[in-house]
Symmetry: C2
Subunit: 331 residues, 2 copies
């Protein structure tokens, strides 16, 4: 039995290219006592992976050259010598960009695919969904009637942020790239407004969409979008800094010109990464499952087929070409 | 009896000049029932006044043209028809840039000048001292052994920040302009290190002074200094944004290039202004009085003589020409 896997061949300088990856075929190892072999059905592609590819200090261990690319996965147990897992169990774990994964059980969790499809446990019911929950409800803490702005609003995280904001009685304003994404965010997800940052009227459109100013910003993008939002933040507002995707491939950092708004408006800004807040998963996940099962939270997936398609799909994700959660279907 | 006062004649565009002010002489009004007349001994000059002079939204009402310049003062009651104040009482209040102030008692507080000179109640025992206390102890919350960096370290606020940090067992690193200020900060105030930002080696000097990285930043300056500090902040560090004096006279805003550190290091950034936290004065002030009376906290004052000297002294303050708390002596 063979395992195809994708390793990082070289570190990118600026934009990632397909040449930064290499596909390999290796034999599948049989599990030893206490181990379990998982056949991976779905691979998650996420912006954080770009940070791991750099040779710089970040919030997690960097991706090593020639090692399998990091990544969240869901799949099915096909062989088990582990007392807690049985053949046929559906599980999530960080196996990375490959077809099979071997585990001693650490970080491997059974998922209950009876209430949502397996792939949802990589998106709305996985790291992105819990990230949205933590950043919005634990950091931003929007009150009823307040205005929440979220960038990358049609993405795996942003789409959940706005829908939770609505459930909590706040006004949800999205920022996304292009009319199709904005239409989806407003018409299907139920945001109050969405601004197409590609239309070139960011400041004016934001003022119109948030006439009472902005109380909470869930930041996924950074750069000019962050500057535009900072200009219209209210006194005592909150910013959860979840991602800065506009900067990940930049060779020169964007200079944030409206930092002074943090002082003038006594804004609280908090950078966060969901894995620091594992204690909140047990609270967030059941809520998210309930909202998804009852149709209160909707989601969309963009699916690339086959492991070989992962590098191209990942580059597309960084350019905003995906629509909702970007997945790779392996089975 | 005459009252000399300084009004704002015009709003500055960029750097403040003396032509933005005008001196006037008007009669002193006698207090009516419920009012008290104060002869002002000392006027406080503070960076926040620059923000008030702009025609833009800020954390406080803007300074109106032709109105007496805003400012904290201490003085002595010379006439009273107010039941709570007697002739001879020493008081602090926001009378602004003038020789006499009339008050109905709102915002007027008696000071106990038996434990420190009257002028100290405009500095280490007034708004700047309490600002240091709130930003450091309520927002940054340094733990023993952590490293605290404070910019404008020889100033009225920064000098207190570093000394409290030392009292709490933290490493105190100052940033100041020039060797004389740095020598004072280390040799007289007891900071562990001080970096002269004018020496042109900010990044290297900061790395040497904070070898374990920075856990708390008390920001008074902004611009390049903030960028240098952000680069060396530790995971889960805290920044209290108290002031951005480098930006107050800038006609083009500096772009903060290291904003991404807030995400990577999950930094909490909090803009604050001490008047939002009036409930903490009652806790902060007795502690500060105790530390000053016992010699644990030292301070220095730069005194300009006579009301006419206020505009020039204020411009000098914005340029960093003062050394410690900038005051104007009126009596």
């Amino acid at each position: 039995m063979e395992n195809k896997r994708i390793v990082m061949a070289s570190r990118p300088a600026g934009w990632v290219t397909e040449s930064n990856f290499r596909i390999e075929t290796v034999p599948v190892s049989a599990p030893k006592d206490g181990e379990v072999l998982v056949k991976i059905h779905w691979l998650s592609l996420d912006p954080y992976m770009r940070g791991r590819m750099n040779d710089t200090k970040s919030y997690a261990a960097k991706q090593e050259i020639d090692a399998v690319m990091v990544g969240g996965t869901v799949g099915e147990v096909v062989e088990s010598k582990h007392p807690k897992f049985r053949v046929g169990d559906q599980v999530s774990g960080m196996f990375g960009w490959q077809q099979y994964g071997l585990s001693d059980g650490t970080g491997l969790n059974k998922i209950d695919a009876s209430r949502a499809p397996m792939s949802a446990f990589l998106g709305v019911l996985g790291m992105p969904g819990v990230t949205a929950w933590v950043g919005l409800l634990d950091i931003c803490q929007p009150k009823e009637g307040e205005t929440v702005v979220v960038s990358a609003a049609s993405g795996a995280v942003g789409s959940v942020v706005g829908q939770i904001a609505k459930l909590k009685g706040a006004r949800a304003v999205g920022i996304a790239g292009g009319k199709a994404k904005c239409d989806y965010v407003v018409n299907e997800l139920g945001f109050d407004a969405c601004i197409d940052y590609k239309a070139g009227r960011l400041n004016d459109d934001l003022r119109a969409a948030a006439p009472k100013g902005i109380d909470c910003c869930f930041e996924n993008v950074g750069g000019e979008i962050l500057d535009a939002v900072l200009k219209q933040m209210n006194a005592f507002s909150r910013i959860a800094v979840c991602g800065l995707i506009s900067q990940y491939n930049a060779t020169e950092a964007y200079g944030v010109k409206t930092f002074q708004s943090i002082l003038t408006n006594r804004i609280k800004v908090q950078g966060f990464i969901v894995s620091d807040r594992m204690e909140l998963w047990a609270k967030a996940l059941p809520e998210l499952i309930g909202w998804v099962a009852s149709g209160k939270i909707k989601y969309r997936e963009t699916v690339a087929n086959g492991l070989e398609s992962a590098p191209k799909a990942f580059i597309g994700l960084l350019k905003g070409e995906n629509f909702g959660k970007q997945l790779v279907k392996l089975v």
